[in-house]
Symmetry: C2
Subunit: 221 residues, 2 copies
């Protein structure tokens, strides 16, 4: 990884055009060809960048980064170099995440009763022609239930599930299929829209699903 602290002006042309006026910034060049231009503020995001695969040309006071395919182009004009160091970092193992939507879906697939009493799983990722339904279940009366799983459920999740239900119900055998929206958090507006469309809402707790915590019972029992 190469770290250059320099006074520079940066131009990006490609999907749009963008200009960074001359100022002191960090230019980070990774060994995979990624180039990022960071200011000392602005958090997280580089002010300008190019993702691999790239071709980097360097000449006196100038660096041109091109995308291997396409017209994207980053022009860095360097007027003063404060520091320029390179570090060999070797391989860094990838990030291991836990608690994303997929984990939630897996846990609910194992314990579908959290989505509704007496539910049993028929299939995960039930295919429709507009995409897969997260969980397809049947209840004690053998009625079909389509479950959409989200970490945070917004109005869009309700629209998504509505589209699926529309398609599923076209099959006469599943004309009575109901919808359930299961999420760690359900936005109030999403809940309102869902209920107005007859879609049930279930807020689930990851720790409870894992048996690490008791489910909260009625507050004033």
């Amino acid at each position: 990884m190469r770290l250059i602290v320099a006074r520079c002006e940066v131009r990006y042309t490609g999907r749009l055009n963008a200009v960074l006026p001359n100022a002191l910034r960090l230019i980070m060049i990774k060994s995979d060809g990624s180039v990022m231009v960071h200011a000392d503020t602005g958090g997280y995001k580089p002010q300008n960048w190019m993702t691999p695969p790239t071709v980097i040309e360097e000449s006196e006071g100038r660096m041109v980064v091109r995308k291997l395919k396409g017209d994207d182009r980053l022009d860095i004009e360097i007027s003063e170099i404060v520091s320029d160091v390179t570090h060999d970092m070797g391989e860094a193992a990838a990030l291991e995440k836990d608690g994303v939507e997929r984990d939630l879906q897996e846990l609910l697939a194992e314990q579908p009763h959290w989505c509704g009493e007496g539910l049993r799983l028929v299939r995960r990722e039930w295919p429709t022609d507009i995409g897969p339904v997260d969980l397809m279940c049947r209840d004690a009366d053998d009625e079909w239930i389509a479950v959409e799983v989200k970490r945070v459920a917004t109005i869009e999740a309700v629209e998504q599930l509505t589209r699926y239900l529309e398609r599923i119900r076209q099959d006469p055998a599943m004309g009575a299929c109901r919808g359930v929206l299961a999420a760690q958090t359900i936005k109030p507006q999403a809940r309102t829209l869902a209920e107005s469309r007859g879609i049930a809402c279930v807020e689930v707790d990851l720790a409870v699903l894992r048996g690490e915590r008791e489910p909260e019972l009625t507050l004033f029992a």
Copy 2:
């Protein structure tokens, strides 16, 4: 800006849990409190990070970054420091962009005929109770046309325009309002859904709108 190259192990707990095994990485700390952990590959995105506002505690071989509000927490355990430098960068002027959705909307507002023959603009950002329609126009027959502008139009853009049309048509005077989806790129599924709902699709070219390029005519005229 402080740049630390170090062998470290990083744990994030908050919205989810994530672990980065011990390896050589760059720890970037901006003066606004942003903390990013970058590997030498992986482009653009830090492997782990915390956006401001943060509180940073540092002790021997350990750094704890907490969000000022909330339970988010980054634990960096440092086993070896290769380099640790700080640079005063001052202020860096912001990025100036050109070619984002707003520019597209402005250009189409000036030349609404690209959205349909004989169209004239009534108003940009036409207000409805669920948000503003990008462009509201009338055609040669004085019929209303609601235009949704996107850089890249997905199925969500169609849903958005559909919601607007639903509301607009509740007004008896606008009961026949038509919808047009205008974008630089329209995804196939979005086009299919739009057309099945009677919404017209128009792909527009920024360079053509600016008169920098001739519109492509029929290929085999």
